[in-house]
Amino acid sequence: MPAVQETVEQVRLIDVDQYKYGFETLIESEKAPKGLSDDTVRFISAKKGEPQWMLDWRLKSYRHWLTMTEPTWQNVHYPPIDYQAIVYYSAPKQAKDRPGSLADVDPRLLETYEKLGIPLHERAALAGVAVDAVFDSVSVATTFKAKLAELGIVFCSFSEAVQEHPDLVRKYLGTVVPFNDNFFAGLNSAVFSDGSFAYVPPGVRCPMELSTYFRINAQDTGQFERTLIIADEGAYVSYLEGCTAPIRDTNQLHAAVVELIALDNAEIKYSTIQNWYPGDKNGKGGIYNFVTKRGKALGANSKVSWTQVETGSAITWKYPSCILQGDNSVGEFYSVALVNNYQQADTGTKMLHIGKNTRSTIISKGISAGYGRNTYRGRVQIHKGATNARNYSQCDSLLIGSTCAAFTFPDIQVQEPTAQMEHEASTSKIGEEQLFYCQTRGITPEDATNMIVNGFCKQVFLKLPMEFAVEAQKLIGVSLNLEGTVG
């Protein structure tokens, strides 16, 4: 029986508090002064001891960003962000600049990740998952590095990659998401602090899940991580990111950039379980999750696959996309986005078909509850010359209650007569009839809701790595706050 089917029981076992990751780690941190200027950019670069080319790229990005304006087309509402009130760099103070091993890492940090269910000691770590732990602006530890290095796989923090693998970083940085791509990507390019870097050499199938666990801890701090993953010819890698933050009543900005590059016959599978603090039930606080994620299926027969479960954040604005450049390349997007209380999400994908015989699949499941607003926005573009390109899109919305809203903005542009496009959409509401039917079989309305929601999401959950599929289901139950009312 698939893991998806165990939910009802599991959700009962979860703690009653709605957001259990809301604790704060009391640790002294080293911060940049509030605000953004050339000096802030130089400060961050100097902290990391970056080479000149990296600083130059940051400064170029920053100066371009100054000419850009914040986008307003998205279907979300929030008060203006004061970019001068944000701290752009915060790092826990450590005895050494760069911990050489776990023994050098502050035990309070290890404890934090332990509490989050991400043990960093390799003997205790999740079997088959290598973790890069990013705390505020820096990576504090990366597990299983040595083991991966035996296969020629590089998995380290972005800062380390700049030092140790400058050729790879210079070759690929900004090739998928250029510094002038959009307002938030531009900001990130100027002030990105850390993130993960992975390179899988030709013909190597990465034997474990690579994973980054992002944690925002310090107050008034933005997190601007940058992730770059390269799968060389014939390589395969599956990558997973998780995100949490303490409960705070002010909003915090998270503007990340993720770039994926798959060369000939390579495959990258990228999964996200996003559970940033969503704000309280009245909509106070929470993370602004304004993220640019894009993968380039550069080589022939390459594949980029996104799976996301978005349950956290006050506002989510992200469109993990695929540029299908190589002939016969494949792009996938599987998404569950849930909004409850006053959460807002404007999320979806872009599939740009450039190569011949390129194929893409979009499965989007939006769930709205409370006063949540959930928008699916998708663009499928078939460029001229992308002969026999195919796309299948399905976007379904599920409404719980009568005060929430769901929106769908599909945009299909076809310049190639041989293209095949399919688009399906549905909107449904968990009805009184469905709940009553379940009740007459002995199932409470809360359990029934959970069951219906999980049934709705199943197609996407099945795409997640096994361990995380269970996690995702629990999260959905907790985010809807169903377990609090059971029994």
């Binding site: 009839e433 469905q434 379940c438 007459t440 079989r441 069951m451 999980n454």
Partner: protein
Amino acid sequence: MLEIKDLHVKVAGKEILKGIDLSINAGEIHAVMGPNGSGKTTLAQVLAGRMTYEVTGGQARFEGKDLLVMKPEDRAREGVFMAFQYPVEIPGVSNAYFLKAAVNAIRKYHGREEIDAMDFVTLVQDKAKLLGLDETFMKRGLNEGFSGGEKKKNEVFQMAVLEPKLCVLDETDSGLDIDALRVVANGINVMRSPNRAMLVVTHYQRLLDYVIPDFVHVLVDGKIVKSGDADLARNLEKHGYGWILEETPRPPQAARA
């Protein structure tokens, strides 16, 4: 087992049931017949606990307990089952998963452990065989894309697996072809037991050719106007409801007489 006294029910402000008295003992099958709009489905839904139906008077006791104050899920856990006239579809939730959740919810209520996965499979296979059903439908979404006949068979199948004490069947025979009718009737008959009671709401005699009721009640305009044995149903089939209405004085007049 079930004791209904002077039950009055309003739906959307309109009185539908106007004083129902009905007593059902274990081992009995009662058929409730009546013309369209007489309140048959309302009676079934009220017993199952539909909250949109407002009870304005009277009572219903199940094994001595006040049924009307119980939540629908607790009624189910106590042993009341309702087979729906129009079962809902729940896409993505398999029949097997749904039924297992129901079995476990009921077991938990009675302080029993959850059913073992293998035991559940065996239970499902046994019941499917007993009813002459192909169990492959268990993997499909709950009633998802099922034909009307398949949905009704699934209701009877769920009833067989959950083994309730009181089965309320709301027009389970409507819209069935003759083969499906036989499967449904067979399901009801194999469920017949000295420990179990059934309330069969139906429009037609034809189900009662296969399931012989102990009692037949005729519901007209929210009241039971005539009760009898299986012969009553046959008479209705032959002569329609008209003769009862003529023969029976209108209830308010009877009260005055």
